[in-house]
């Protein structure tokens, strides 16, 4: 459980930490699109460079990021092999036991895996450098035009911040219950399937019960303190859009244009 870094926040005062959360959200949103523009060595090179630059600016240790990616690594490897085995384009590089591997397939597999990796790094970077509160404030602010059409923006943002807030709590809870059941002789990591299913019930039942209890307590606590949704609500933390944010957005625009021009 300690290896998971997705959804965690690493306090810091780097350039990326100080950006307005809206900038970071927009960056992520745009990045998700422009990542699909890349389709050759140049464009992938630029994207990788840009991502490394972000990582460098965020001052998050490289090794820490790598370790955090471990859980998703096998998905990436799986994607790679799926492409290598299923794409049949270009020249055959080698044949083995009736399996033909084409050069285009290797290239395609590498590109797709890289795309996947880059996406995960950038989205993880967002949560690593932005507190959940900032993320929701940013989200609420970006979505506020939708209020005109009666979209419950504030409520959605609240739901999001509550779920983000409780990810670590649930993780902790999971770890605690796992330990308690391990002490009672449960083996979560090995053993026959049937026993492992049983082990999962021993974990999930207590976890659900405590989650429901917690939700109820939270609802009561909010009610008691007079929470009534977004009506006439002011903010303690106001978001400020600085010159640096404008500059950064322009930079991303340039990146998108460069990718568009260089793609084949």
């Amino acid at each position: 459980m300690n290896g998971m870094i997705i959804g965690k926040y690493v306090p810091g005062d780097s350039f990326i930490h100080r950006l307005d959360p809206r900038t970071k959200l927009l960056l992520m949103f745009i990045y998700v699109f422009i990542v699909f523009l890349a389709n050759n060595g140049w464009t992938y090179g630029i994207l990788t460079l840009f991502t490394c630059l972000l990582l460098f600016l965020s001052r998050i240790p490289f090794s820490f990021m790598i370790r955090g990616l471990k859980p998703v690594l096998w998905v990436i490897v799986f994607t790679f092999f799926l492409h290598v085995l299923l794409t049949k384009e270009g020249h055959i590089v080698f044949q083995w036991l009736g399996i033909e591997v084409y050069d285009k397939a290797i290239q395609q597999g590498a590109f797709i895996s890289l795309r996947f990796l880059l996406l995960i790094v950038v989205t993880t970077l967002l949560t690593l450098t932005t507190t959940p509160i900032e993320v929701t404030d940013g989200m609420e602010s970006l979505l506020s035009p939708l209020k005109k059409w009666n979209v419950p923006v504030h409520e959605l943002a609240l739901m999001m911040s509550i779920s983000l807030r409780f990810i670590p709590t649930l993780m902790e809870e999971t770890e605690k219950i796992m330990k308690a059941q391990t002490a009672r002789g449960v083996d979560f990591s090995s053993g026959p399937l049937q026993e492992r299913m049983k082990a999962m019930t021993a974990l999930l039942v207590p976890l659900f019960i405590s989650a429901f209890k917690r939700a109820e307590e939270l609802a009561v606590a909010m009610e008691v303190r007079g929470y009534r949704g977004s009506q006439n609500r002011t903010k303690w933390r106001e978001l400020t859009w600085g010159r640096i944010d404008t500059a950064f957005m322009l930079f991303i625009g340039l990146l998108a244009i460069a990718l568009w021009l260089l793609r084949s």
Binding site: V10, K179, Q181, A183, G185, A202, P206
Partner: protein, 289 residues
């Protein structure tokens, strides 16, 4: 089962920005059959320490000897199941680990994981229920239909059912009413006396530590700062206050009397009975004069 810690250190989330040293320089010997209380502030490393008793956590430095087991830092120990049978841990708020449909099934869960047959386990549920002071009627009820205190007892019965040699208790009486507290603590003391169990009790209650333990360990900021019998530990009241710990009320009372009358009791009064005895000798002495 003797327990020996040698130069144990534990760091959480090693090599990350979240790395935190929770324990260091831990040297401790716990004799088989003794009753040891671990006291200390929140965050002093008590919970981390007790998770080393059955290999839930493994040291990042040093060695832990648990009976025939030796857990050395850096070597991942795999076959810990037999050890976990010997060391039962009752975590804080153990009622959170209940999950079965009936009390009976939940109590049988532990022993069956360690290889007891279903028939034998079921046949002995009555015995375990009686041990924690629950009536036979609850056997077929859902554990979630019980009161908080009863759920706690069911959870503890589930650990006792594993018949461990060492029982590690992390604040087992937190949140119980005074009577429930006393019953439960007396039950653990009985287990130590009758079944020769080793008991390690983590507690915030100085009264419990003073009354039940043979030996007290005080933890402070991740390491052991004092170790001794209750008499030795509670003789030094200022030292405890300096460490931010409470002092049993009987000891405070004794101190107030001593200061008021300018006398010195020979022994620290750890229980109400001690106070009574000391006052009696005091009064008889006064009468004689």
């Amino acid at each position: 089962m003797d327990i020996v810690f040698r130069d144990v250190e534990h760091r959480y989330q090693i090599n990350t920005p979240f790395e935190k040293r929770a324990l260091y320089d831990i040297h401790v010997d716990i004799r088989s059959g003794s009753y040891v209380a671990v006291i200390g502030h929140t965050g002093s490393g008590k919970s981390t320490l007790l998770q080393h008793f059955n290999g839930l956590l493994q040291p990042t430095k040093g060695t832990v000897h648990l009976g025939d087991y030796t857990i050395v830092a850096g070597k991942k120990e795999k076959h810990l199941k037999p050890l976990r049978k010997k060391v039962g841990i009752v975590f804080q708020f153990p009622e959170h680990q209940l999950f079965e449909e009936t009390v009976e099934k939940d109590i049988c869960f532990g022993p069956m994981n360690f290889g007891m047959s279903e028939q034998e386990a079921k046949a002995r549920v009555g015995e375990w229920l009686a041990l924690v002071g629950l009536p036979e009627e609850v056997r077929h009820k859902s554990p979630f239909a019980l009161s908080g205190g009863q759920m706690r007892r069911v959870a503890i019965a589930g650990v006792l059912a594993m018949e461990p040699e060492v029982l590690v208790l992390d604040e087992p009486t937190a949140g119980l009413d005074p009577r429930g507290r006393k019953e439960m603590m007396d039950m653990f003391a009985n287990l130590q006396r009758q079944k020769k169990m080793t008991i390690v009790l983590v507690t915030h209650s100085m009264e419990e530590a003073a009354r039940y333990a043979d030996d007290i360990i005080i933890m402070h900021r991740g390491t052991i700062v004092r170790r001794g019998t209750p008499e030795q530990i509670f003789r030094n009241v200022d030292d405890l206050i300096h460490l931010g710990l409470d002092v049993p009320e009987t000891v405070l009372f004794q101190r107030a009397i001593e200061q008021k009358f300018g006398i010195q009791f020979p022994e620290p009064c750890l229980t109400i009975e001690d106070v009574e005895r000391s006052l009696q000798t005091l009064f008889t002495r006064v009468k004689r004069i």
